[in-house]
């Protein structure tokens, strides 16, 4: 049963990924990316990451993708026209990507997992266990994250204001 869920979600994710990189209109790419994110959220649930599952749907598929859609509607439906100035770009890119994929696959062949840490799987990945990790051993990175978000917000406001002079 779990394997069937995995394969359906994985196929959906790969189909969405193909859509992201092959649709000519940006709005279709964004909607394909939403499909990928929803499929990945199902996989997160299979990996018992309940909190990340919720965050993925609300923050990623919800907020970030709506931001992308807003920008696309703001800029108008710019279609992609023609190829670039670099000849052979598609061929070289395909070669590079295949080499990258082969490299990653070769790396997987040498993976030997160490013994699992026998965590209590009934609370693994719940809001409580994530919060305990986030507010004890990872408190400093967590606080730095809030500063990062503040900087991003200020930067976005600064970049998008109208020039008054």
């Amino acid at each position: 049963m779990a394997a069937a869920v995995f394969f359906v979600a994985a196929l959906l994710a790969i189909a969405g990924g193909i859509g992201v990189i092959s649709f000519r209109q940006p709005i279709r790419s964004v909607l394909s990316l939403v499909v990928v994110m929803l499929a990945l959220s199902v996989l997160f649930l299979l990996l018992s990451a309940q909190f990340i599952f919720v965050v993925q749907i609300i923050v990623y598929a919800g907020a970030v993708m709506v931001l992308f859609l807003f920008v696309i509607t703001l800029l108008g439906p710019a279609r992609e026209t023609g190829g670039g100035r670099l000849r052979f770009q598609a061929g070289l890119s395909a070669l590079f990507v295949i080499a990258l994929l082969g490299l990653i696959y070769a790396m997987f062949q040498g993976v030997h997992f160490r013994q699992p840490e026998q965590a209590d799987l009934s609370v693994f990945g719940t809001v409580q266990s994530i919060a305990v990790g986030l507010f004890t051993s990872y408190l400093y990175p967590f606080e730095l994250t809030s500063i990062l978000l503040l900087i991003a917000a200020i930067g976005a406001v600064y970049l998008s204001r109208r020039d008054e002079s």
Partner: protein
């Protein structure tokens, strides 16, 4: 390779890792091939999602929660990156019409 148990049936961790690798390679292909700066940003989001999947798969296999915490950090960084990147794009598009990333090569010198 490691397997783990979901509701009585065994799943192989390497399936998740392979899917993450495929999605990451797709994102790379998109960044390299596409010409529209907006779609390049979208492809970067795809790559970040693939990395998240890998982190969470390792986290489940090793039964160690730190992978999920790192995935959470990745999501935050991705959100910040999307906000600033889109703001820069909107600013550029306001000045002139850009259809191709090659139009933005003045800084080359």
């Amino acid at each position: 390779m490691g397997t783990f148990d979901v509701g009585g049936s065994q799943l192989d961790t390497s399936w998740f890792l392979l899917l993450g690798a495929i999605l990451f390679a797709m994102g790379t292909a998109g960044v390299l091939v596409r010409r529209n700066p907006l779609i390049i940003l979208i492809c970067i989001e795809l790559m970040l999602n693939a990395v998240n999947l890998t982190l969470i798969a390792f986290s489940r296999q090793l039964e160690n929660l730190e992978g999920q915490l790192f995935a959470l950090m990745t999501m935050t960084v991705a959100a910040a990156e999307a906000v600033v990147g889109l703001a820069i794009l909107v600013d550029i598009f306001r000045v002139r019409d850009v259809e191709d990333v090659d139009d933005l090569s003045e800084l080359r010198g």
